[in-house]
Subunit: 327 residues, 2 copies
DNA sequence: GGTGCAATTGAAATCGATCCCAATTTTTGT
DNA sequence: ACAAAAATTGGGATCGATTTCAATTGCACC
C-alpha cells in the first residue's frame, strides 16, 4: 500500500508537502493539484496509526455501555456515533454486562488507545471506586452518575420520573403499588427513591424488589410477587429490560393488565405501544441523551478546567392502557 | 504518560527488553519481575498506535451494518464483538443506513485504519459494484451476499425460509397471500424469490410490494394494501423492521390478526411472542451468524488462498397465533 | 534591478513502539 | 575448568505520518 513518500515521489515534491495537502496546510494550487492526482493514481490512504502516533491525537472516543442489546443503549449509541462521526471522530464500543471487571478492562483498553474521551454508563460499584481524574481522558457519564457532581454526566430526572409514575397510578385509583428495580445501577436506586418518596407522601407503604438487570431475573421476581399472599394491584418497573420480564411473568401467570395488575415503567421501546392498549411508560429522550453526552465531551475537550456539570433531562409520561383507571 | 523508555530506565534495562516483557518474548524471570514492577509503578500503558504502526497489524476489525437499532444487527453485532474481543481484537462499528455513499466512506475509513478484516452487510448496489480484492483486507459478508460465491459470506437460507412461511400459511388454509419485501438488500430479493416460487408451485398468484427498509415505508405500503379492493387474507413480511410497520398498519386500520389478516415474517424480536397469541416468524440464529462470521474471518486471515465459501444457516419456523388455521 | 516580505517548499527530527542482529551472559557437557 | 551451545540482553533501524525550522521562491515596490 502506497505511503506518503511514494506520493511525494510521484508528484515530484517532498513528503512534507504531501502532508500539507492532507492537512490543508499552505500549498500552492498548482502543487496541490499534482499531489492530489498522484494520490488518486496510487490509491493512497493515509495510515491512521502513524498519524495518531505523530500528531498525538486519536480523534477516537470510547463508548462503554452495559449491553448494546438493551434498546435504550442501542438508541443512545446510535446518536453518539452519528454525532461523533459528524465531528470527525471514531467510536469504540464496549459491552460490560454490568460487570465491574469488564469495566476496568475496557477503561484500561481506552487508555491504551489513547482515546480523546469516553462516554460511560458505569455500575454503582465502579462509580464508587473510580477516580476519573486518574484516567488521563475526560469522562462523561450517561444514564448513571455519582451523587456529587464531580464528573460530567447526562442523566434523566429519575426521582421525578418515578414519582410521576406513582402519582399517575394514584390518580388512576391504584393503592397497592409495588416496585421492581435494577440492583446494579445508580439509576435503579434513584428511581426507587422517587418511588418510595411518592408513596410515602401518599401515606402508603412502598414494597420494592431489587433484581439483577436481566429479563429472567425480573420475570422470576415478578412471578414471586404475583404468587404472594397479597398480590400488588399495580407494578412500577424501573427499565425496559425488567419490564419485558414483568410482562412475561404476567402472561405466564395468566394475568391481564390492567384488570389484574396495572403496569407502568420506563423506556418507550417499540413494542410497548403495541401490547394490548399499550404500556404506560416514561419515555426517555434517547437521542438527546446521546447528543448531549457527545456535546458535553466536546466542550470538556475544549476546556478541561470548567467545573463539572450534570445535565438532567426530563422524561415524558406516556399514559396508556396498562394503567387505565381502576374500574 | 509513561513510555517504554521510562519503564526501561526505571527497571534498569533496555527498551527492547521491556518490549519483550510486553510480548511474552524470552526474558529471565528476574528481569521480567523488575520490569513488571516498574510498569506498575509508572502506571504504564502501551501505546496502541505506536504498536500498530511498527508491528503492522492492527488487530482491529470493521463491522459495517445498516443500522444497529435493527434488533437483528444488534444481536449479530453483540456476538461479533464478544467473539472479537475474545480473540484479542477490537471492533469498529459503522452504520450505513443502507446508503451506498456511506458504505463507500466507511470502507475507505477501514482502509485508513488498516483493519485486519471487515464484516459487512452491504446493499445490493454495493454488492454489484464492489471488488473486495481491491480493498486490501478480507471481507466476510453477512445477511446478504452476491449470487456467485466470490466472497466469504454467512447468510440465511432465505428462499427456503420464505417458502416455509408460504407453505405454512397454505397448510393453515390461506390462499390470498401477499408479500412485503425490503428493496435495498439482496436478502429481500431472495426472500421474494422463495415466496414467489412457493406460491407458483401452489398455482397461486404472488402479489408483492418492495419498500424502503423502514417502519414508516412498510406501514404506508401495508395500509395501501389493506385499503385495496382485494385485501389479501395473509401477509408475508420480509424482516422485523417491516413487520413492525405492518403491525402498526393493521392496528391503525382497526384490523385484527389472524381473523382479518394473517401475519408471518422474519426475526424473532422480543415483542413478537408477546403480541396477542404471538407472531409467526422465522427465527434467525443471530448469535451463530455473528460467531460464524468472525470464525470465517479468522480462517481467512489464516489462509488467504482458500477458496471463498458461503455458510448457509437455516432459520427456524415459529408457528404462532398470527397464522392460526382459517376458521 | 535590487530589496524586503510573505508565501511555499524541503530537510530532518520525532511520535512510541517492535524487531533484527550482534554482544553478552548463562548453561551444558566433558 | 574450559569450550561450545543456548539463553538473554542491548543497540539501532524502522514503521508512516506530522511538525519545526530553515531555505527558497515569488512578488510588490522603490
Amino acid at each position: 500500500m502506497a505511503k506518503i513518500k511514494d506520493v511525494a515521489e510521484a508528484a515530484g515534491v517532498s513528503p512534507s508537502t504531501v502532508s500539507r495537502v492532507l492537512c490543508n496546510g499552505p500549498v500552492s494550487d498548482k502543487v496541490r493539484k499534482r499531489v492530489e492526482e498522484a494520490m488518486r493514481q496510487l490509491d493512497y490512504r493515509p495510515n491512521l496509526a502513524a498519524r495518531r502516533l505523530r500528531s498525538q491525537h486519536t480523534d477516537t472516543i470510547g463508548l462503554i455501555v452495559s449491553d448494546i442489546r438493551n434498546p435504550f443503549f442501542t438508541a443512545v449509541s446510535r446518536a453518539v456515533e452519528d454525532e461523533a462521526y459528524r465531528n470527525g471522530m471514531r467510536v469504540i464500543l464496549c459491552n460490560t454486562d454490568e460487570n465491574p471487571d469488564k469495566e476496568a478492562m475496557y477503561l484500561r483498553l481506552m487508555q491504551e488507545e489513547r482515546v480523546t474521551g469516553v462516554i460511560f454508563a458505569p455500575t454503582r460499584q465502579t462509580v464508587a471506586n473510580l477516580d476519573p481524574a486518574a484516567l488521563g481522558f475526560p469522562v462523561v457519564m450517561i444514564d448513571r452518575a455519582s451523587r456529587d457532581v464531580t464528573t460530567d454526566a447526562v442523566v434523566l430526572d429519575n426521582r421525578r420520573a418515578a414519582a410521576a409514575l406513582v402519582e399517575h397510578l394514584l390518580a388512576q385509583g391504584y393503592r397497592d403499588i409495588a416496585g421492581v428495580f435494577g440492583n446494579t445501577s445508580s439509576t435503579g436506586m434513584e428511581r426507587h427513591a422517587g418511588f418510595a418518596e411518592a408513596m410515602q407522601q401518599a401515606g402508603l407503604p412502598a414494597p420494592a424488589q431489587f433484581v439483577a438487570p436481566s429479563v429472567e431475573a425480573a420475570e422470576q421476581a415478578v412471578l414471586a410477587m404475583l404468587a404472594a399472599e397479597q398480590r400488588p394491584r399495580a407494578l412500577v418497573v424501573s427499565n425496559g429490560v425488567l419490564m419485558l420480564g414483568a410482562v412475561r411473568a404476567l402472561k405466564s401467570a395468566g394475568l391481564h393488565w390492567p384488570q389484574d395488575v396495572a403496569l407502568a415503567g420506563f423506556d418507550n421501546d417499540v413494542w410497548t405501544e403495541l401490547l394490548g392498549d399499550g404500556l404506560t411508560v416514561i419515555e426517555q429522550p434517547v437521542g438527546e441523551i446521546g447528543r448531549a453526552a457527545m456535546a458535553m465531551l466536546l466542550e470538556r475537550l475544549d476546556d478541561a478546567e470548567r467545573s463539572p456539570r450534570i445535565v438532567v433531562l426530563q422524561g415524558k409520561l406516556l399514559a396508556r392502557g396498562s394503567s387505565a383507571p381502576v374500574a
